[in-house]
């Protein structure tokens, strides 16, 4: 053993005179790192209460607790963290679809009572609520999938040459992959007018059980193939994944399931008691609301007859929606399930006053779902000139097989889905199409995707264009004269109004002017004593919580009743009437009256 080795241990003593290794405790507090995982914070305004944080927490440390009334797009629930269980892994922060949850870099908190270590971040005030530092989501790391599986579509150049469906549809693999993006929060259920069991059928699609998915869908929607193709999909608007990414393609997933089966009779299994045997119900108008009432009453044993003025059921989804979006076989498949379920269908038959009186007398209940059939006029000089037509008439005539006189250059006035449909149909009939709309493009009520598709196919859109008048030109064409509008914010919180810029006139020489600025109700077929009782001056019909009008035994739904004017709202009206009519007929099973939980979520 050398001298060096003997002395070595004592060299430690020399350190007594040098600067310490450790940092002096100057402040009594050391700030956590910039991305330290400390106590939770939550921006409760951004939080939508989807519960993904509670779902991913491997310690079951997070409870969702009600702090506010639920509204569409926000469950009103907020996460409460139990620090007796939390392991500060921050998966809750990383998964948060709204990006509201974070962690502060604060890590010291002293309490004598262990139960105090449980609070609702952002609701129960804490000193670190406004901490700028701490763990937050970072770009480049996502625990949910923000990218939608793209929907295969026909090439825009090909589309206008044919009436073939533009949307091709998901393959099985694509559907399963898209379905796997769902976090099953259920916010979509609140937004859907019919409150379809969306997360449940998406889960069934993800798990490869298409039959289960179809049955969950049919649980409260008898026209899902239509909805799968053309629904206004309010659900997607509130999808939690949509806050920071692409919302789930809920509509396309529904479409996928319905397309897997050619005949629904053997796949959709109604398991209801036939409480309505011996009861008779007449339905005037075969649109989505009428079909809904018919189907769910028929499977309950009711004797149901639908009266439809047009040659086919479907209402606006038949005569209004172009076949490149919703082809006939899709509609026929759904109608076949109705007839298979025992619904009697009388088409090409317009109910008139006397017959209506008889129906009311002969039936236990009558449902009116005749929709809005009277187009609003242009309200500008020249609207009666030949060559000026209504989109609704033009679409209906086209779809029932009448020759439609569309040629040359066409201007479509309006910005809703009907305007877009009329434009795209005109394109396919060989016309060159321009849309004139009063407000900005972002204000157009039509579906964004529809607008994009129309533009891709070659429709030109002129926004902020107010029609002034239509004149005939010397060579038999039409001069569509419009003035530019500026947008004025008249009231805070309301959408800006277009105001005509005086003194400017633009001319557009066209062959046809198609008016698509809305439609109203038409009750000339209805006996006066009924019409007076149930409809207001503008033709709107009011119903109670059972879907019944002021005339006892007459129920109503669809565009006549609700202001949203879409198919899914009509279906929701129909569902309401299904319960209402059973109640009125005195055959509603007790359990259903209490509105117990649907099978799909009770599991």
């Amino acid at each position: 053993m050398s001298v060096k080795h003997t002395l070595a241990p004592f060299s430690a003593w020399l350190q007594a005179f040098s600067k310490p290794f450790t940092l002096p405790d100057k402040h009594g507090y050391r700030e956590g790192a910039d991305r330290y995982r400390g106590w939770h914070i939550n921006d409760t305004k951004k939080c939508i209460g989807c519960g993904s944080c509670a779902e991913i927490c491997q310690n079951v440390a997070i409870d969702m607790v009600p702090v506010d009334d639920p509204v569409k797009g926000d469950s009103g629930l907020r996460p409460r963290v139990d620090y007796g269980r939390c392991c500060w892994c921050a998966l809750c922060v990383d998964v948060c679809p709204s990006g509201s949850l974070g962690m502060s870099n604060e890590y010291i908190w002293v309490e004598a009572d262990a139960d105090k270590f449980r609070y609702i971040p952002g609701v129960d005030p804490k000193p670190w609520d406004n901490a700028e530092k701490g763990w937050r989501q970072e770009e480049g790391f996502d625990l949910v999938d923000h990218e939608r599986v793209p929907m295969p579509m026909l090439d825009p150049a090909e589309r206008t040459k044919t009436w073939a469906e533009v949307v091709i549809g998901y393959s099985e693999e694509e559907a399963r992959q898209e379905a796997s993006r769902c976090v099953e929060c259920g916010l979509c259920v609140a937004a859907c007018p019919a409150h379809m069991h969306i997360p449940d059928y998406i889960a069934a699609i993800r798990d490869g059980d298409d039959i289960a998915a179809l049955n969950i869908i049919y649980d409260n929607n008898p026209m899902p193939e239509m909805c799968g193709k053309v629904c206004t999909r309010r659900c997607e608007g509130v999808c939690s994944i949509g806050v920071q990414g692409d919302p789930l393609a809920i509509r396309w997933l529904k479409r996928y399931v319905t397309e897997q089966f050619d005949d629904l009779k053997d796949v959709v299994h109604a398991e209801v008691e036939r409480v309505g045997e011996g009861k008779k119900v007449a339905i005037v108008g075969g649109g989505p609301s009428g079909v809904t009432v018919a189907y769910y009453l028929a499977i309950r044993g009711f004797d149901v007859t639908i009266y439809e003025a047009l040659p086919q059921l479907g209402g606006a989804t038949f005569f209004g929606i172009p076949k490149y979006r919703f082809p006939m076989p899709s509609l026929e498949k759904q109608v076949k399930l109705l007839t298979d379920s025992g619904v009697k269908i009388v088409t090409n038959h317009r109910v008139e006053k006397d017959e209506m009186r008889q129906l009311v007398k002969d039936n236990d209940a009558v449902f009116i779902g005749t929709g809005l059939m009277k187009p609003y006029g242009l309200r500008a000089p020249g609207e009666d000139l030949p060559g000026v037509m209504y989109a609704l008439d033009m679409l209906r005539d086209h779809h029932i097989g009448k020759k439609v006189d569309i040629t040359g250059k066409v201007v479509v006035v309006g910005g809703g889905n009907v305007a877009i449909d009329a434009s795209r149909v005109s394109l396919r009939l060989g016309a060159e199409v321009t849309i004139a709309y009063r407000r900005r493009k972002v204000d157009m009520p039509a579906d964004d995707e529809e607008i994009e598709d129309a533009e891709a196919e070659g429709v030109e859109i002129i926004p902020q264009a107010i029609p002034l008048r239509v004149e005939q030109t010397g060579d038999g064409r039409l001069d569509f004269i419009w003035g530019p509008a500026e947008m004025v914010q008249e009231e805070e919180g309301r959408r800006p109004r277009p105001k005509l810029i005086e003194g400017v006139e633009n001319h557009m020489i066209v062959d046809r002017v198609i008016v698509a600025i809305g439609q109203g109700a038409e009750h000339s077929w209805m006996p006066e004593e009924i019409a007076e009782k149930i409809a207001d001056k503008r033709g709107w019909i009011t119903v109670d919580e059972n879907g019944m009008t002021a005339y006892e035994g007459i129920f109503a739904g669809g565009d006549l009743v609700n202001s949203t004017a879409d198919a899914i709202s009509a279906i929701a009206d129909g569902l309401r009437a299904v319960v209402g009519i059973q109640k009125y007929a005195g055959v509603l099973p007790q359990a259903e009256d209490e509105g117990s939980e649907p099978v799909a979520i009770a599991k």
Binding site: P9, S11, G140
Partner: protein, 376 residues
């Protein structure tokens, strides 16, 4: 332990070493039998911190298993995080998508983890011989590394950072400079530590020639890590089964001879220098780009059926994860092959007869037994 063995052992003094013994490496115990101050036999007992991690993972989604595994070796969690990620990356097919920068950051984290663990263990080496100063210095050095871990991962001990498809966050701005400053601070103090450990007569007397592991046992018991390298056998998973970015790094496997406690401490000391060098190389070579692959929805992620075994070099030796999937959204089985499992039970029990009681704690530190990874 058979009945005859037990009867035989009862005639001697029995001593429970641990689970709270200050000289032990954690919550485990050695039931030892003594003649004089020489141990004649010993049995390892574990189970004092068993939390059933392997079982818990079978009941959790893949992403929910990820925060669990760091607990399998508290002082060196990152190897566990890497292995679970590597196993499931391989079985899910995500392995091909891990971006380059993600792989480099993984390698960085693994090497930082090795560095801080070796600093602590080296302190343990001399701490087990009741010398207090050097362990304190080494723990302070380790804290420099933990500062960088805190800054990078948001936590000092449980980093929960290496995950499927890459890592959870990018390097913060200025990270390389701060890391370099810390490495320099550590390097500056290391000679001091060398002096009180490797040059110290106390350590030399108690470590040289003590706890010699025979070479024949290596294959027989599947030994690995510094125990093997202290015999002069250049075995290192980073070279033998290269993973992540180790093939692109320039380093030699550290070996020495003697196979005693001193040799093993020496290997660790050299590996501290090696890790410092590797961290510098990594930070120099770090490319720009994404740090994590695009992940599927972690709440519904399923992985096709399969099984694999992935391994990495922890400071204690070969750590491996046997991972079995069955097509569901949860693992079928994860079985951790921990180096301490062999070193702390079979090897330790075999080494105990003939060992002086005072040498048991240093011997265990030199095997770097980590109890939580033995019982998982």
């Amino acid at each position: 332990m058979t009945t005859t063995e037990t009867a035989e052992l009862r005639r001697r003094v029995q001593l429970w070493f641990g689970p709270q013994h200050p000289g032990i490496t954690g919550n485990m115990s050695v039931q030892a039998w003594l003649e004089g101050d020489t141990l004649t036999a010993g049995v390892t007992h574990v189970g004092y911190l068993h939390r059933g991690f392997e079982k818990l993972m079978e009941r959790r989604r893949y992403i929910q298993s990820f925060p669990i595994v760091c607990r399998i070796c508290v002082p060196e969690p990152d190897t566990n995080e890497y292995l679970l990620a590597a196993g499931l990356d391989e079985l899910s097919g995500l392995a091909a998508e891990v971006p380059e920068r993600g792989r480099w950051i993984r390698t960085l984290v693994l090497e930082m983890s090795r560095l801080q663990m070796n600093l602590m263990t080296l302190g343990g080496h001399i701490g087990a011989m009741a010398m207090g100063a050097a362990p304190n210095w080494l723990i302070a050095m380790r804290d420099f590394v933990l500062d960088r871990f805190e800054e990078l991962t948001g936590g000092r001990i449980y980093h929960m950072f290496i995950t499927y498809g890459g890592v959870r966050r990018d390097l913060p701005e200025g990270f390389a400079e701060r890391m370099e400053a810390d490495l320099e601070a550590i390097e500056e103090k290391l000679p001091l530590v060398d002096n009180v450990i490797f040059d110290s007569s106390v350590f030399r007397k108690r470590a040289i020639g003590v706890g010699v592991v025979p070479e024949e046992w290596v294959d027989e018991m599947s030994l690995s890590g510094p125990i093997v390298r202290a015999m002069g056998i250049p075995r290192d998973v980073r070279k033998d089964f290269p993973y992540e970015k180790y093939p692109e790094l320039d380093f030699e496997v550290v070996t020495t001879t003697g196979s005693d406690i001193y040799a093993r401490a020496w290997v660790r000391r050299q590996e501290i220098a090696q890790s410092i060098d590797l961290i510098r190389q990594i930070l120099r070579k770090m490319p720009e780009g994404p740090y994590c692959a695009k992940l599927p929805n972690m709440l519904t992620w399923t992985i096709p059926p399969g099984q694999t075994y992935v391994r990495a070099e922890a400071t204690r030796g070969e750590m491996g994860y046997y991972v079995v999937t069955d097509g569901s959204d949860k693992v079928r089985r994860v079985h951790v092959r921990a180096p301490s499992y062999v070193h702390g039970v079979a090897l330790l029990e075999r080494m105990i007869p003939g060992t002086n009681i005072a040498d048991l704690a240093p011997l265990m530190v030199s095997f770097q037994v980590c109890p939580p990874e033995m019982e998982r």
